[in-house]
């Protein structure tokens, strides 16, 4: 994997990091903290970093995937072939991380990604657990975490243990609904009954057929991983048709404050997995901020509420800088080996690729939270932590209230 000499035309004492993120398009909410984080990193690396006894400048080249996997692949090859980056990082959903990682793998460029459940990343790219990948590394939680956390959560309230599921036909839905690797087998094991009407094609205008089925089967828990508009439809129509589950735990749709705001008062009581929050007891390895301080700095700088990708984006740069400092040179293999040897405490928790469930994967902790009313505002608080006991609970799980 030797690139032609022209690609290496960049100055020898600069580390170039290519950063791919869905700045525009349907996934743009994931990229909201990007500018803040990059600004932070630029300040922290303004004087360069030391690596192998030599001082290197750090340059970040930011590319927009437009929430489109084709574009993600295209900009990655641009980063590699035109800009000659030394390291590619990317984040947020398989639609971004998978094509980016595929390009890096094919072109022999080190790559670190996060914020995609690791199964969707590893198996979604047709990875072989025996072989793994050469160049691409990923850290995030996996299905086993979300399954563990959710099933534990649902046992905290008395219910009939009947679950209605909403798994669309996309990267996440297919992984979560997978009979062996996903929820179904786990739910069976832990004594829940569930209704899976099959993978549906989003967007869906009308969920009546789901709702009447759920009502018929007296479902008290709803779970799924669906997009905000689909969930809005579901939730509105559930209201119309008088379907009143006790617990609603859906990923994606209720992860972001703005999206939740769209549901108005009916957002209160919804539960969702949490990959990061200001309450996580971790500190940044580069800015030394605690999670809470990071969130506060973000809100102060942007006057926006914190969201989960903030911590993930920050941690991505933490790992990248750590790797480059340890690499000692711009040699791709040296950088790759440095990634492999990563063992870093970041603001989202410890990152280590050596003891992942499959090669190239490092795991970060996961808990579950609930949108609860604090005064006139909704706040996401941790209500379940069985998968990551080091993260403290903030509140008790409450059933959804209906007027």
């Amino acid at each position: 994997a030797s690139a032609s000499p022209w690609v290496r035309a960049g100055r020898d004492n600069t580390f170039k990091i290519g950063f791919v993120s869905p700045q525009t398009g349907p996934l743009a909410a994931f990229a909201e903290p990007d500018m803040f984080i990059m600004e932070q990193v630029r300040k922290l690396t303004a004087n360069g970093i030391m690596s192998g006894g030599q001082k290197y400048a750090v340059e970040i080249i930011y590319k927009d995937s437009q929430s489109n996997p084709n574009q993600a692949g295209k900009v990655t090859s641009e980063l590699i072939l035109r800009d000659g980056v030394d390291l590619v990082i990317a984040s947020a959903t398989p639609a971004t991380t998978n094509p980016v990682a595929d390009q890096c793998e094919a072109n022999g460029v080190p790559c670190i990604t996060n914020d995609t459940p690791w199964q969707a990343h590893f198996f979604g790219r047709k990875g072989d657990p025996k072989v793994g990948f050469d160049w691409t590394y990923h850290f995030f939680w996996g299905l086993e975490d979300v399954i563990g956390s959710y099933t534990n959560l649902w046992q905290k309230l008395p219910t009939n243990k009947s679950i209605g599921t909403l798994w669309p036909n996309d990267e996440d839905g297919n992984a979560w609904g997978n009979t062996e690797l996903g929820f179904p087998s786990a739910l069976n094991k832990s004594g829940f009954s569930f209704i899976d009407r099959g993978r549906f094609q989003t967007p869906v205008n009308d969920f009546s057929s789901f709702i009447s089925e759920f009502r018929k089967q007296e479902v008290e828990i709803v779970t799924g991983v669906i997009t905000p508009p689909d969930f809005a439809n579901f939730w509105n129509q559930a209201g119309q048709q008088g379907f009143q589950p006790k617990i609603v735990t859906v990923a994606k749709a209720t992860e972001f404050p703005q999206a939740v705001a769209a549901f108005g008062p009916r957002a209160e009581g919804l539960t969702v997995e949490m990959w990061w929050s200001p309450a996580h007891p971790f500190n940044s390895s580069i800015s030394q901020q605690s999670a809470a301080e990071l969130a506060a700095a973000y809100s102060a700088a942007t006057s926006r509420a914190w969201s989960m990708p903030l911590g993930l984006k920050h941690s991505l740069f933490e790992v990248a800088l750590d790797v480059l400092q340890r690499a000692g040179s711009k040699d791709p293999e040296a950088i790759r080996d440095a990634i492999k040897a990563t063992n870093l405490n970041t603001v989202v928790g410890p990152v280590n690729f050596a003891n992942g469930p499959v090669p190239n994967i490092g795991k970060t902790p996961l808990v579950t939270g609930q949108w609860q009313r604090k005064g006139d505002k909704l706040d996401l608080v941790i209500v379940e932590n069985s998968q990551a006991p080091m993260i403290p609970l903030q509140a008790e799980l409450l059933p959804i209230k209906y007027s």
Binding site: L81, A95, Q103, D170
Partner: protein
């Protein structure tokens, strides 16, 4: 005649020069060329349909995506060499286009346009429900794992070059053949064409199928280079949007149109694609402006003001002496040819 030879020599020289790029150029140039050539082939095919066949389709992404998916399925599941799979995939896509054309031809004009779009959606939804190619999540092309980067890059580049040259040459030869005459005649008047012995229905079907084949080649090539496919990306209507923009900006109903359009498109995307949405807004606005104020596109303007005609397909009558072959590069009339 001599001008003809000179032109041919220059063209062959250019192709040879281009073919040797892997030995002296940058990998990035090759990559860029592959991407652009997919758009170019796609635009040529859209031009063939709309500019010559009078069929405005908004559903060409169906064949682009199918080409990609067939290539990937053949390569991943069937172990076929991906480059061979591109061609096989295009053949399979064309087979699917055959029954679809029967439905599409029931609609005319604007309804044909949206009807083809619906059919593309049907194809997308169907593919999204086939789990062996990853369903809605899509899948990665694994056939290249273990193949050296340089080899993959070079061969992909050469295949793209062949696709581009073949598209230009074949379309050009087609238009200079008897069938090309028929196509132009149909564009001007279907009734009269039919009464002059031209089988209009068969001709339109042929154009539809050739166009499907070409789009599928472009799709296969694109995903060989992009390595990852998903239904939403492969069957995105944006492919057709870009095709239309390229053709309308370059000039519809001429071979030079897509050539120049692609050049403009490449420049614009090279310098502005980082602007995301604004870049698309700009392209759309440019196409609208061209449609309103210069319907023949840039080539139409060039022809009108400079008399440039790179790919003469017109037969010129030379009194008292009948030539076996059309004379080259001569200008015949001032009026620009185009969609009637």
């Amino acid at each position: 005649m001599t001008r003809n030879i000179v032109a041919a020599v220059v063209a062959v020289g250019l192709v040879i020069l281009a073919a040797s790029l892997p030995f002296w150029g940058e990998a990035y140039w090759m990559h860029e060329f592959v991407m652009v050539s997919c758009f170019f082939v796609f635009a040529m095919m859209w031009n063939l349909m709309a500019g010559y066949g009078g069929m405005v389709s908004v559903g060409q992404q169906a064949w682009f995506g199918l080409g990609g998916y067939f290539m990937l399925a053949l390569a991943n599941l069937g172990g076929v060499n991906p480059f061979v799979a591109i061609v096989l995939g295009a053949v399979l896509s064309t087979l699917i286009a055959l029954p679809m054309s029967k439905l599409a031809f029931r609609l005319q004009g604007g309804y044909f346009a949206i009807g083809t779009w619906v059919m593309a959606e049907v194809v997308r939804l169907t593919v999204a429900n086939i789990s062996i190619v990853g369903g809605g999540s899509g899948t990665s092309l694994t056939a290249f794992r273990g193949v050296s980067r340089a080899l993959r890059e070079n061969v992909t580049y050469w295949v793209a070059l062949v696709a581009v040259v073949a598209t230009i040459v074949l379309v050009y030869l087609f238009l200079r053949s008897k069938q090309g005459l028929a196509l132009q005649a149909i564009r001007d008047s279907e009734v009269a064409a039919e009464s002059q012995g031209i089988n209009v229905a068969r001709m339109k079907l042929a154009v539809y199928l050739v166009s499907a084949f070409g789009c599928a080649i472009a799709g296969g090539l694109y995903f060989v280079s992009n390595l990852r496919i998903s239904p939403d990306a492969a069957f995105s209507v944006n492919w057709t949007a870009f095709g239309i923009f390229i053709v309308m900006i370059g000039g519809i109903g001429r071979i030079e149109g897509p050539v120049i359009g692609t050049l403009v498109f490449w420049l614009v995307s090279h310098y502005f694609s980082d602007y995301g949405t604004w870049y698309l807004i700009g392209l759309g606005a440019l196409a609208i402006m061209m449609t309103l104020y210069a319907r023949q596109g840039i080539t139409g303007l060039l022809d009108r003001f400079l008399g440039v005609d790179l790919f003469p397909t017109r037969r010129v009558f030379v009194a008292r002496k009948v030539e076996a072959k059309p004379a080259p590069a001569a200008r015949v009339y001032n009026e620009t040819a185009g969609v009637a």
